[in-house]
Amino acid sequence: MWRYFGRKLLIYGLTFFVAVTINWMIPRFMPGDPVQSMLSRANIAQPEAVEAMRAHYTNLFGFDLPLWKQYANFWAALLQGDLGISIWVFPTPVTDVIVRAVPYTLGLLVPAILLSWVAGNRFGAFAARRKWLDNTALPVGYVLTATPYMWLAILLAWGLGIVAGVLPVAGAYSFAMEPSWSWEFLGSLVEHWLLPFASLFLVAFGGWAIGMRNMIIYELEADYVHYLQSLGASRRLVRRYAFRNAILPQITGLALQLGVLVAGALVTEIVFSYPGLGHLILKAIQNQDFFLLQGTFLFIVIGVLIANFVIDVAYVVVDPRTRIGMGEAA
């Protein structure tokens, strides 16, 4: 088991290193000078003023150092939790910008992932049980997983937000409010959260339901199921065992799908202008804010790594085979 974790940790470590390096590398080898375009947006009248500011900011962002030094500084700063200063919301430190957005993304992602996973698996297992359910409900599942996140989001926004006008389609809470611990405010938060959550949830739900349905069908052909059936075990027990074993690949699947789900959340946030990381990424892209883009990217990578680790731990808990040290899961 420790080997298993050791190996996983090594991979996470390496992944992190690679991510950081890619992250550092890309903007530096791309065409264009971030400071120049920043100043270009600044719309300053006099060319002389621009020149002075260019020198100033180039120095401020450390673009005048040799590359290896920039790389070393990047790591040094990173290890101190310093991701630089955002260009887009100058002079806010990138970490601050991200920390403000993270609760929204987590508030969207965590429930969406967990609930869709739990509900999808239950539903999939349930649907696999009955032929008519299987034949009617699963096409819906296929359609849901095949739906691009943003399209579902657009449809929901259009249908429920614009046509029906029952739910707000932008922001995280009413523009008429300031954060406080009042019911009214919490209600507003929930109201704004509902649509983005629903679009994430539905797509993921369809995927899990189908995955589970397929797994259960495979599991029901397994030897131990045949054995239980030969001994006349109740259908409930058989289902329960099959479910429990089928859930293992679904856990691994969760790890595999994390990246996709995160991506989905990003796109959904964009549709609903939900002030989370996805929104930040879009803005960072639109504003060529390297530091913010790097920061969000790193943050997401770290988040995904942590989530993966949690999943690994969960896997070890539910699958005795990993604990016994028989080797690697999935």
Binding site: A146, M150, Q257, I270, N308
Partner: protein
Amino acid sequence: MTAAGPAAVVTVRAPRREALYFALRNGKLVAGLVVVLVFLLAALLVPLTIDYGPNDYVGPAASAPSGEYWFGTTTFGQDVFAQFAYGLRATFLVGLLGGGLAAVIGMAVGFTAGYRGGLVDEILNMITNIVLVLPALVVLLIVNAYLGVRSVGVQALFIGLTSWPWAARAIRAQTFSLRSRDFVDLARLSGVRTPKIIVREIAPNMSSYLFMTFILLFGGSILIAASLDFIGLGPTQGVSLGLMLNNAARWSALHLGMWWWFIPPGAGITAIVGALYVMNVGLDEVFNPKLREM
């Protein structure tokens, strides 16, 4: 979704005829195939019947679907149907190229790692795991944001380069189990070289599995491309379904009630990818005797 089914080596014990028999009787497979083919034909043929470009301002602005413009027109007076048909082309292309590239990389890595084993496997596995853990779309966002994407081809290239890991992993596992099969040893005893063994002995044994992997990668590429297009990181030339969605959103089609602008592209993507997934399950049932319904 990639978690389509456990990695059972689907051995084609049955002759092809039998597989074909089940294929034709499998409603899921047939229905999926029909949908995909209809869209494919539309993508191939419809543009031939339209004598203007998808981005030309041909009609009255923002008009609802009519006999003349089946899917209506955009704010600029572009024919949504023409855009849809051309967009389908781009969508199929990105699926084919992106999914194909990912499949090729996935196979190369998976076969090599699975067959070679040892250190090669360790290293490839490590790389696979790293790429797997990195959230692909986010990497794509970064790369696209910096490099800029001109064409569907480049987009497909990026997608292909990042979406192979799960395929590699699955193929590796399959290869691993096939590698120890006696017929592989027998081929070695016949003096056949490693690459040839992989191509001639191992790959044919998992051809249906490889095909299913490709289908999933194909669908995945389409979805990723649509997301990228939507964020505005899509190709800057031409049309694609994702770009149509992006444009519809950017030009306030939602608020202006121009549903005909944003419904078709999304529905098209959903239908194609959904049909691919359904096909995949159908294939699974065809090739896996355990799942066949009598």
